[in-house]
Amino acid sequence: MTTTAETIVAGDGGNRLNKQVKGWPGWIALVAIALVALIIGATRSSGPLTDDDRLDGISQRLACPVCDGESVYESQSPAATGIRQQIKALIQQGAYSDDQIIQYIETKFDAKTQLVPKATGFDSLVWALPVFAGVCAVAGLAVAFRRWKMSPDTVPTEADQAIVDAALREQGDE
C-alpha cells in the first residue's frame, strides 16, 4: 500500500492526482466505509452462545474459593470443578441469566467470590481512581502545553552557554 502511495508521488502528474486522492473526498470515503463496517459489525449478533461458552464466561467472573488467585475457570481444584458443574446444571435448566447464576453461587457459598469489584461504597474507588488519574493526567498535559505555548523561545543564558562549552570541550578531548 505504501509503495503504491510513493509511486504515485513519484510522477509529476501523479503528484496532482495524489493530492486529489488524498484530499478531503478520499478521507470522507474512508471514514464512511470504516463507520459503516463498524456499525455492521457492532450490531450483528454472533449467533446463540453454547452452554459451554456461557459456562466459560460465568466461571471467569468467579474466584475459586479455595485457590490462591485463580478463577473458577482456570482452577483444576475439586471445589472449582464442582462449581463449574453446578453452573453448567443451572445453565442447562435454561431459566436463569448469567447474573442470576452468579448471585446464586455467591449467596450459596456465603463468600466473596466475585472477581469484579463492586461499583458501590469503598470498592468503587478501584473504578473511580483510574478515571480520576486519567482526568488529572489530561489536565496536567493541558496545563503543561499552555505554559509551553506562553513561554517565549528560550534564550540561552550565560550558564547555559557554559554548559554547552564544557560539553563541547569534553567532546573534543576524546
Partner: protein, 217 residues
C-alpha cells in the same frame, strides 16, 4: 489513593521547575511552589502504600484455615454407596469425621491404612467414638471405589457427591482432606493432605476436652 506515578502527568511541567534567577518566565515563581508539592504528594502516597504493606498479613500458603471454622457445617444430604439416604443434620450428638477422597489419588492410598486403624479404634469406643465417613469426589467411578475398599479394607459408610455439592460447600482444595465436626454440627478442624491415626486421635481428644470445658461453663 492518588497515583504514585501521577506525578508523571505533571512532571513535564515539573521539568521546568528548577528555573534559575533571571528567568523571564512569569510562571517561574508559581512553578517553584508546585515542585515540592508534587514531591510531597508522591512521598505521602508511597508512605501510605508502605504503611498498608507493613500491616498486611502474610498468610500461610498451605492454610488449613477455612471460613467455615467455628461455624455450622454445610448441609450434607446425599446417598451412600449402598444406596441409603444420608443427612448430616440427623447425626447430631456425636463427633463426625469426614474424609474427602478419590480412589485414584495417590496420597489417599497412602493414607488409607491409617484411616482403617482410626475408624476401627473409634468404633471400638462404642457410643463415645466418633462417626467416620468418606466423601467420594464427583466423577470417581463407583465401581472403582468399591474395588478400592474391597482391596484395602474399611467398612464405614461411603457418601457420594456426584453433583459436587458437598465438595463445593466445604470448599475442598484438594483430596485428601479431613474435617472434624462437633456434636452440635459446627466445624472444628480441617486438615489438607495426609492425616495419621495418631494425629486424628490426638486432635479429637483435644477438641473433646475443649468442648466439654465449654459445656461445663
Amino acid at each position: 489513593m492518588p497515583d504514585p506515578f501521577a506525578g508523571g502527568a505533571a512532571a513535564p511541567g515539573a521539568d521546568r521547575d528548577g528555573d534559575r534567577e533571571g528567568d523571564p518566565l512569569p510562571t517561574a515563581a508559581a512553578a517553584k511552589r508546585v515542585a515540592p508539592l508534587i514531591v510531597i504528594v508522591i512521598a505521602v502516597v508511597v508512605a501510605g502504600l508502605f504503611w498498608i504493606l507493613i500491616g498486611a498479613k502474610s498468610g500461610e500458603s498451605d492454610t488449613a484455615d477455612t471460613p467455615l471454622m467455628g461455624k455450622p457445617a454445610p448441609v450434607v444430604k446425599t446417598t451412600t454407596l449402598d444406596g441409603k439416604a444420608f443427612d448430616l443434620q440427623r447425626r447430631k450428638g456425636s463427633w463426625v469425621v469426614l474424609n474427602f477422597f478419590n480412589s485414584t489419588c495417590v496420597p489417599c492410598i497412602k493414607e488409607h491404612p491409617e484411616l482403617v486403624k482410626f475408624a476401627g479404634e473409634q468404633s471400638a469406643l462404642g457410643l463415645d467414638g466418633s462417626e467416620f465417613y468418606t466423601v467420594v469426589s464427583q466423577g470417581n467411578d463407583h465401581g472403582d471405589v468399591r474395588a478400592f475398599f474391597a482391596k484395602r479394607g474399611g467398612s464405614w459408610p461411603i457418601l457420594l457427591d456426584d453433583d459436587a455439592s458437598i465438595t463445593v460447600a466445604f470448599g475442598v482444595a484438594k483430596v485428601p482432606e479431613t474435617w472434624i465436626i462437633d456434636p452440635n454440627g459446627y466445624v472444628r478442624w480441617r486438615a489438607i493432605s495426609i492425616v495419621t491415626d495418631d494425629l486424628l486421635t490426638r486432635v479429637l481428644a483435644q477438641l473433646k476436652s475443649d468442648f466439654n470445658l465449654a459445656l461445663a461453663r
